[in-house]
Protein backbone atom coordinates (compact mmCIF):
# COMPACT_ATOMS: atom_id res chain seq x y z
CA UNK A 1 0.00 0.00 0.00
CA UNK A 2 1.46 3.39 -0.98
CA UNK A 3 1.24 5.08 2.42
CA UNK A 4 3.67 7.86 1.75
CA UNK A 5 1.30 9.78 -0.51
CA UNK A 6 -1.67 10.01 1.84
CA UNK A 7 -2.91 13.58 2.11
CA UNK A 8 -2.66 14.41 5.82
CA UNK A 9 -5.47 16.03 7.79
CA UNK A 10 -5.06 19.26 9.75
CA UNK A 11 -7.89 20.93 11.64
CA UNK A 12 -8.54 24.51 10.54
CA UNK A 13 -8.39 27.27 13.19
CA UNK A 14 -11.89 28.49 12.30
CA UNK A 15 -13.46 25.05 12.69
CA UNK A 16 -16.01 26.33 15.22
CA UNK A 17 -17.46 28.77 12.71
CA UNK A 18 -18.52 25.84 10.54
CA UNK A 19 -21.98 25.48 12.03
CA UNK A 20 -24.05 27.06 14.77
CA UNK A 21 -23.75 24.10 17.17
CA UNK A 22 -19.96 24.46 17.21
CA UNK A 23 -20.33 28.19 17.82
CA UNK A 24 -22.83 27.58 20.64
CA UNK A 25 -20.34 25.12 22.13
CA UNK A 26 -17.48 27.66 22.09
CA UNK A 27 -19.70 30.31 23.69
CA UNK A 28 -20.74 27.79 26.31
CA UNK A 29 -17.08 27.04 27.12
CA UNK A 30 -16.36 30.76 27.31
CA UNK A 31 -19.34 31.18 29.63
CA UNK A 32 -17.85 28.54 31.90
CA UNK A 33 -14.56 30.42 32.09
CA UNK A 34 -16.45 33.66 32.80
CA UNK A 35 -17.97 31.91 35.83
CA UNK A 36 -14.47 31.71 37.27
CA UNK A 37 -13.94 35.40 36.45
CA UNK A 38 -17.09 36.25 38.40
CA UNK A 39 -15.87 34.00 41.21
CA UNK A 40 -12.78 36.18 41.49
CA UNK A 41 -14.88 39.38 41.28
CA UNK A 42 -17.09 38.14 44.12
CA UNK A 43 -14.01 37.22 46.13
CA UNK A 44 -12.67 40.73 45.65
CA UNK A 45 -16.05 42.13 46.72
CA UNK A 46 -15.97 40.07 49.91
CA UNK A 47 -12.43 41.29 50.54
CA UNK A 48 -13.64 44.90 50.43
CA UNK A 49 -16.34 44.30 53.08
CA UNK A 50 -14.03 44.46 56.11
CA UNK A 51 -12.09 47.38 54.60
CA UNK A 52 -15.10 49.68 54.79
CA UNK A 53 -18.09 51.24 53.05
CA UNK A 54 -16.17 53.48 50.63
CA UNK A 55 -13.85 50.70 49.39
CA UNK A 56 -16.74 48.26 48.99
CA UNK A 57 -18.98 50.77 47.23
CA UNK A 58 -16.17 51.92 44.94
CA UNK A 59 -15.50 48.34 43.84
CA UNK A 60 -19.20 47.61 43.35
CA UNK A 61 -19.75 50.78 41.34
CA UNK A 62 -16.76 49.96 39.16
CA UNK A 63 -18.84 47.12 37.77
CA UNK A 64 -22.11 49.02 37.69
CA UNK A 65 -21.14 52.11 35.70
CA UNK A 66 -19.88 52.48 32.15
CA UNK A 67 -17.60 51.35 30.63
CA UNK A 68 -17.22 48.25 32.84
CA UNK A 69 -21.01 48.04 33.03
CA UNK A 70 -21.16 47.05 29.35
CA UNK A 71 -18.49 44.42 29.84
CA UNK A 72 -20.45 43.19 32.85
CA UNK A 73 -23.58 42.84 30.69
CA UNK A 74 -21.68 40.80 28.09
CA UNK A 75 -20.14 38.57 30.78
CA UNK A 76 -23.55 38.10 32.39
CA UNK A 77 -25.04 37.10 29.01
CA UNK A 78 -22.33 34.44 28.66
CA UNK A 79 -23.02 33.13 32.16
CA UNK A 80 -26.74 32.93 31.31
CA UNK A 81 -25.88 30.89 28.20
CA UNK A 82 -23.70 28.64 30.35
CA UNK A 83 -26.66 28.05 32.69
CA UNK A 84 -29.19 27.45 29.89
CA UNK A 85 -26.89 25.06 28.02
CA UNK A 86 -26.11 23.23 31.28
CA UNK A 87 -29.83 22.55 31.82
CA UNK A 88 -30.09 21.37 28.22
CA UNK A 89 -27.12 19.04 28.62
CA UNK A 90 -28.22 17.35 31.84
CA UNK A 91 -30.89 15.45 29.95
CA UNK A 92 -28.38 14.47 27.26
CA UNK A 93 -25.48 13.54 29.54
CA UNK A 94 -27.21 11.31 32.05
CA UNK A 95 -30.38 9.92 30.54
CA UNK A 96 -32.93 9.47 33.30
CA UNK A 97 -35.03 6.41 32.74
CA UNK A 98 -38.24 5.24 34.39
CA UNK A 99 -39.76 3.40 31.43
CA UNK A 100 -38.55 1.71 28.25
CA UNK A 101 -37.05 4.91 26.80
CA UNK A 102 -35.15 7.61 28.68
CA UNK A 103 -36.92 10.90 29.34
CA UNK A 104 -36.56 13.28 26.37
CA UNK A 105 -33.97 15.97 27.13
CA UNK A 106 -36.56 18.71 26.65
CA UNK A 107 -38.58 17.31 29.56
CA UNK A 108 -35.48 17.27 31.77
CA UNK A 109 -34.70 20.81 30.60
CA UNK A 110 -38.19 21.97 31.60
CA UNK A 111 -37.95 20.33 35.01
CA UNK A 112 -34.56 21.95 35.56
CA UNK A 113 -35.89 25.38 34.63
CA UNK A 114 -38.67 24.93 37.19
CA UNK A 115 -36.10 23.83 39.77
CA UNK A 116 -34.00 26.87 38.88
CA UNK A 117 -36.99 29.15 39.46
CA UNK A 118 -37.55 27.57 42.86
CA UNK A 119 -33.87 27.81 43.83
CA UNK A 120 -33.71 31.43 42.66
CA UNK A 121 -36.71 32.26 44.82
CA UNK A 122 -35.02 30.60 47.77
CA UNK A 123 -31.88 32.67 47.13
CA UNK A 124 -33.88 35.89 47.00
CA UNK A 125 -35.45 35.19 50.39
CA UNK A 126 -32.77 33.27 52.28
CA UNK A 127 -29.67 35.07 51.05
CA UNK A 128 -30.81 38.53 50.08
CA UNK A 129 -33.59 38.90 52.63
CA UNK A 130 -36.56 39.09 50.28
CA UNK A 131 -37.84 41.80 47.98
Amino acid sequence: MMRGREYPWKRRPGWWLRNRRYLAFQLRELGGVICAVYGLILLDLLAQLPVGASAYTAFLNLWRTPPMWYLNLVLFALVLWHAISWFMLIGKAQPIQFTRRPLPWKVVFGVNVLLWLGVSGAVVYLIFGGI
Binding site: M2, Y7, W9, W15, W16, R18, R21, E29, L89, Q94
Partner: protein
Protein backbone atom coordinates in the same frame (compact mmCIF):
# COMPACT_ATOMS: atom_id res chain seq x y z
CA UNK B 1 -38.29 15.99 -15.10
CA UNK B 2 -36.06 13.94 -17.39
CA UNK B 3 -34.18 17.07 -18.45
CA UNK B 4 -33.42 18.19 -14.91
CA UNK B 5 -29.76 18.32 -14.01
CA UNK B 6 -27.72 18.78 -10.90
CA UNK B 7 -24.12 19.88 -10.43
CA UNK B 8 -21.89 17.73 -8.23
CA UNK B 9 -18.72 19.42 -6.93
CA UNK B 10 -16.52 16.55 -5.80
CA UNK B 11 -13.19 16.93 -4.05
CA UNK B 12 -10.61 14.88 -5.94
CA UNK B 13 -7.21 13.74 -4.78
CA UNK B 14 -4.80 11.71 -6.86
CA UNK B 15 -1.96 10.37 -4.68
CA UNK B 16 0.34 9.86 -7.67
CA UNK B 17 -0.05 13.43 -8.90
CA UNK B 18 1.38 15.15 -5.83
CA UNK B 19 -1.14 18.00 -6.21
CA UNK B 20 -3.41 19.19 -3.41
CA UNK B 21 -7.03 18.06 -3.26
CA UNK B 22 -9.19 20.16 -5.59
CA UNK B 23 -12.82 20.29 -6.64
CA UNK B 24 -14.06 18.91 -9.93
CA UNK B 25 -17.55 19.65 -11.22
CA UNK B 26 -19.88 17.21 -12.93
CA UNK B 27 -23.28 18.00 -14.43
CA UNK B 28 -25.50 14.92 -14.28
CA UNK B 29 -29.17 14.11 -14.93
CA UNK B 30 -31.30 14.31 -11.85
CA UNK B 31 -34.45 12.51 -10.77
CA UNK B 32 -36.49 13.38 -7.73
CA UNK B 33 -35.79 10.05 -5.99
CA UNK B 34 -31.99 10.01 -6.37
CA UNK B 35 -29.67 9.88 -3.43
CA UNK B 36 -26.17 11.33 -3.48
CA UNK B 37 -24.68 7.85 -3.92
CA UNK B 38 -26.77 7.39 -7.09
CA UNK B 39 -25.21 10.57 -8.43
CA UNK B 40 -21.69 9.38 -7.64
CA UNK B 41 -22.38 6.03 -9.29
CA UNK B 42 -23.76 7.79 -12.37
CA UNK B 43 -20.55 9.82 -12.59
CA UNK B 44 -18.41 6.72 -12.26
CA UNK B 45 -20.47 4.70 -14.77
CA UNK B 46 -21.01 7.34 -17.46
CA UNK B 47 -18.80 10.37 -16.96
CA UNK B 48 -15.55 9.72 -15.12
CA UNK B 49 -14.57 6.15 -14.23
CA UNK B 50 -11.59 7.40 -12.21
CA UNK B 51 -13.81 8.81 -9.43
CA UNK B 52 -13.15 6.68 -6.33
CA UNK B 53 -15.47 6.26 -3.35
CA UNK B 54 -16.61 3.58 -0.92
CA UNK B 55 -20.11 2.14 -0.86
CA UNK B 56 -21.76 -1.24 -0.43
CA UNK B 57 -25.22 -1.93 0.91
CA UNK B 58 -26.86 1.35 -0.25
CA UNK B 59 -29.32 1.06 2.63
CA UNK B 60 -27.55 2.61 5.63
CA UNK B 61 -26.36 -0.52 7.42
CA UNK B 62 -22.81 -1.21 6.22
CA UNK B 63 -21.32 2.15 7.17
CA UNK B 64 -19.10 2.39 4.07
CA UNK B 65 -20.35 5.49 2.28
CA UNK B 66 -19.68 8.30 4.77
CA UNK B 67 -18.69 11.64 3.22
CA UNK B 68 -19.09 15.38 3.76
CA UNK B 69 -22.14 16.55 1.80
CA UNK B 70 -22.57 20.36 1.77
CA UNK B 71 -20.41 20.65 4.87
CA UNK B 72 -22.15 17.97 6.94
CA UNK B 73 -20.96 14.38 7.52
CA UNK B 74 -23.62 12.12 6.04
CA UNK B 75 -24.14 8.69 4.50
CA UNK B 76 -24.33 9.29 0.75
CA UNK B 77 -26.78 6.40 0.42
CA UNK B 78 -29.12 8.00 2.94
CA UNK B 79 -29.07 11.58 1.65
CA UNK B 80 -31.59 12.55 -0.99
CA UNK B 81 -30.23 15.02 -3.52
CA UNK B 82 -33.46 17.01 -3.26
CA UNK B 83 -32.69 17.67 0.43
CA UNK B 84 -29.20 19.08 -0.21
CA UNK B 85 -29.66 20.56 -3.69
CA UNK B 86 -28.64 24.18 -3.15
CA UNK B 87 -27.40 25.07 -6.60
CA UNK B 88 -24.66 22.49 -6.44
CA UNK B 89 -24.05 19.49 -4.20
CA UNK B 90 -20.58 19.66 -2.68
CA UNK B 91 -19.02 16.34 -1.70
CA UNK B 92 -15.75 15.96 0.19
CA UNK B 93 -14.08 13.08 2.02
CA UNK B 94 -14.75 12.76 5.76
CA UNK B 95 -12.84 15.31 7.86
CA UNK B 96 -10.25 14.32 10.42
CA UNK B 97 -8.85 11.41 8.40
CA UNK B 98 -5.94 11.30 5.95
CA UNK B 99 -7.12 11.01 2.37
CA UNK B 100 -6.05 7.96 0.37
CA UNK B 101 -7.72 8.92 -2.91
CA UNK B 102 -10.73 11.09 -3.83
CA UNK B 103 -13.41 10.33 -1.23
CA UNK B 104 -11.60 7.36 0.30
CA UNK B 105 -9.98 7.97 3.71
CA UNK B 106 -7.55 5.94 5.77
CA UNK B 107 -9.24 4.53 8.86
CA UNK B 108 -6.75 1.99 10.17
CA UNK B 109 -6.44 4.10 13.33
CA UNK B 110 -10.21 3.87 13.83
CA UNK B 111 -10.13 0.08 13.59
CA UNK B 112 -7.30 -0.08 16.13
CA UNK B 113 -9.33 2.03 18.51
CA UNK B 114 -12.34 -0.27 18.16
CA UNK B 115 -10.12 -3.26 18.97
CA UNK B 116 -8.56 -1.47 21.94
CA UNK B 117 -11.80 -1.44 23.96
CA UNK B 118 -12.16 -5.24 23.87
CA UNK B 119 -15.32 -5.35 21.78
CA UNK B 120 -16.27 -8.90 22.77
CA UNK B 121 -17.67 -10.69 25.80
CA UNK B 122 -15.02 -11.09 28.49
CA UNK B 123 -15.58 -13.47 31.40
CA UNK B 124 -13.53 -14.93 34.24
CA UNK B 125 -15.32 -18.24 33.99
CA UNK B 126 -17.20 -19.46 30.96
CA UNK B 127 -19.03 -22.33 32.60
CA UNK B 128 -20.83 -24.86 30.45
CA UNK B 129 -20.55 -23.57 26.88
CA UNK B 130 -23.12 -26.07 25.64
CA UNK B 131 -25.79 -24.02 27.40
CA UNK B 132 -26.71 -20.54 26.27
CA UNK B 133 -26.50 -17.39 28.36
CA UNK B 134 -30.07 -16.18 28.67
CA UNK B 135 -30.95 -12.50 28.72
CA UNK B 136 -34.23 -10.87 29.61
CA UNK B 137 -35.58 -8.18 27.26
CA UNK B 138 -34.69 -5.49 29.84
CA UNK B 139 -31.09 -6.72 29.83
CA UNK B 140 -30.94 -6.47 26.05
CA UNK B 141 -32.53 -3.01 26.17
CA UNK B 142 -29.74 -1.83 28.50
CA UNK B 143 -27.16 -2.02 25.70
CA UNK B 144 -29.31 -2.09 22.56
CA UNK B 145 -28.85 1.57 21.62
CA UNK B 146 -25.04 1.35 21.65
CA UNK B 147 -25.14 -1.91 19.71
CA UNK B 148 -26.71 -0.17 16.70
CA UNK B 149 -23.40 1.42 15.63
CA UNK B 150 -22.52 0.68 12.00
CA UNK B 151 -18.95 1.99 12.27
CA UNK B 152 -19.54 4.67 9.64
CA UNK B 153 -17.15 7.14 11.31
CA UNK B 154 -19.41 10.17 10.82
CA UNK B 155 -19.00 10.83 14.56
CA UNK B 156 -15.21 10.93 14.23
CA UNK B 157 -15.53 13.34 11.32
CA UNK B 158 -17.81 15.57 13.40
CA UNK B 159 -15.68 15.52 16.56
CA UNK B 160 -13.42 18.60 16.79
CA UNK B 161 -11.44 17.01 19.63
CA UNK B 162 -10.55 14.04 17.44
CA UNK B 163 -9.71 16.48 14.65
CA UNK B 164 -7.09 18.06 16.86
CA UNK B 165 -5.94 15.05 18.87
CA UNK B 166 -5.81 11.83 16.91
CA UNK B 167 -5.00 9.70 19.93
CA UNK B 168 -8.44 10.39 21.42
CA UNK B 169 -10.29 7.09 21.64
CA UNK B 170 -13.33 8.76 20.09
CA UNK B 171 -17.12 8.43 20.13
CA UNK B 172 -17.79 5.12 18.35
CA UNK B 173 -15.13 3.15 20.25
CA UNK B 174 -16.44 4.56 23.54
CA UNK B 175 -20.04 3.67 22.67
CA UNK B 176 -18.85 0.19 21.78
CA UNK B 177 -17.08 -0.10 25.15
CA UNK B 178 -20.29 0.91 26.92
CA UNK B 179 -22.25 -1.64 24.86
CA UNK B 180 -20.13 -4.43 26.30
CA UNK B 181 -19.92 -2.97 29.80
CA UNK B 182 -23.71 -2.89 29.92
CA UNK B 183 -24.08 -6.42 28.56
CA UNK B 184 -25.21 -8.65 31.42
CA UNK B 185 -23.12 -11.54 30.08
CA UNK B 186 -19.89 -9.53 30.27
CA UNK B 187 -17.41 -9.27 33.17
CA UNK B 188 -14.76 -7.08 31.56
CA UNK B 189 -15.96 -3.64 32.69
CA UNK B 190 -12.88 -3.05 34.83
CA UNK B 191 -10.44 -3.75 32.00
CA UNK B 192 -12.34 -1.51 29.60
CA UNK B 193 -12.67 1.32 32.10
CA UNK B 194 -8.93 1.04 32.74
CA UNK B 195 -8.38 1.51 29.00
CA UNK B 196 -10.68 4.55 28.96
CA UNK B 197 -9.39 6.12 32.18
CA UNK B 198 -6.28 7.38 30.39
CA UNK B 199 -5.09 10.67 28.93
CA UNK B 200 -6.32 9.65 25.49
CA UNK B 201 -9.48 8.00 26.80
CA UNK B 202 -12.80 9.58 27.66
CA UNK B 203 -11.23 12.53 29.49
CA UNK B 204 -10.37 14.24 26.21
CA UNK B 205 -14.07 14.68 25.45
CA UNK B 206 -15.51 18.15 26.11
CA UNK B 207 -19.09 17.16 25.26
CA UNK B 208 -19.41 19.16 22.07
CA UNK B 209 -22.20 16.73 21.22
CA UNK B 210 -21.86 16.91 17.44
CA UNK B 211 -21.16 13.17 17.27
CA UNK B 212 -24.68 12.38 18.48
CA UNK B 213 -26.17 14.96 16.11
CA UNK B 214 -24.66 13.34 12.98
CA UNK B 215 -25.10 9.69 13.99
CA UNK B 216 -27.41 8.04 11.43
CA UNK B 217 -28.37 5.28 13.90
CA UNK B 218 -29.09 7.35 17.04
CA UNK B 219 -26.38 5.58 19.02
CA UNK B 220 -25.85 8.80 21.04
CA UNK B 221 -22.11 8.37 21.66
CA UNK B 222 -21.95 11.71 23.50
CA UNK B 223 -24.22 10.43 26.27
CA UNK B 224 -22.26 7.16 26.28
CA UNK B 225 -19.01 9.02 26.93
CA UNK B 226 -20.50 11.05 29.77
CA UNK B 227 -21.78 7.80 31.30
CA UNK B 228 -18.30 6.30 30.93
CA UNK B 229 -16.77 9.34 32.65
CA UNK B 230 -19.11 8.72 35.55
CA UNK B 231 -18.34 4.97 35.64
CA UNK B 232 -14.60 5.60 35.39
CA UNK B 233 -14.83 8.08 38.27
CA UNK B 234 -16.74 5.59 40.44
CA UNK B 235 -14.17 2.90 39.70
CA UNK B 236 -11.35 5.35 40.44
CA UNK B 237 -12.88 6.31 43.79
CA UNK B 238 -13.37 2.65 44.71
CA UNK B 239 -9.72 1.91 43.97
CA UNK B 240 -8.52 4.96 45.91
CA UNK B 241 -10.71 4.37 48.95
CA UNK B 242 -10.76 0.58 49.01
CA UNK B 243 -7.52 -0.70 47.48
CA UNK B 244 -7.40 -4.44 47.13
CA UNK B 245 -11.15 -4.87 46.93
CA UNK B 246 -12.25 -7.18 44.15
CA UNK B 247 -13.35 -5.30 41.05
CA UNK B 248 -16.03 -6.39 38.62
Amino acid sequence: MADAEVVFRVKRYRPESGARPAFQEYRIPYRHDMVVLDGLNYIKDHVDPTLTFRWSCRMGICGSCGAYVNGQPRLTCGTYIRDVHKGAVTIEPLSNFPILKDLVVDFDDFLNKLASVKPYIVRKDWGDLSKEYTQYPEEVEAYRQQSLCINCMLCYAACPVFGQSHEFVGPAASALALRYIRDSRDEGADARLAQLNTKTGVWECTFVGECSVVCPKDVDPAAAIQTLKFLATMRHMRRLLMPGAASR
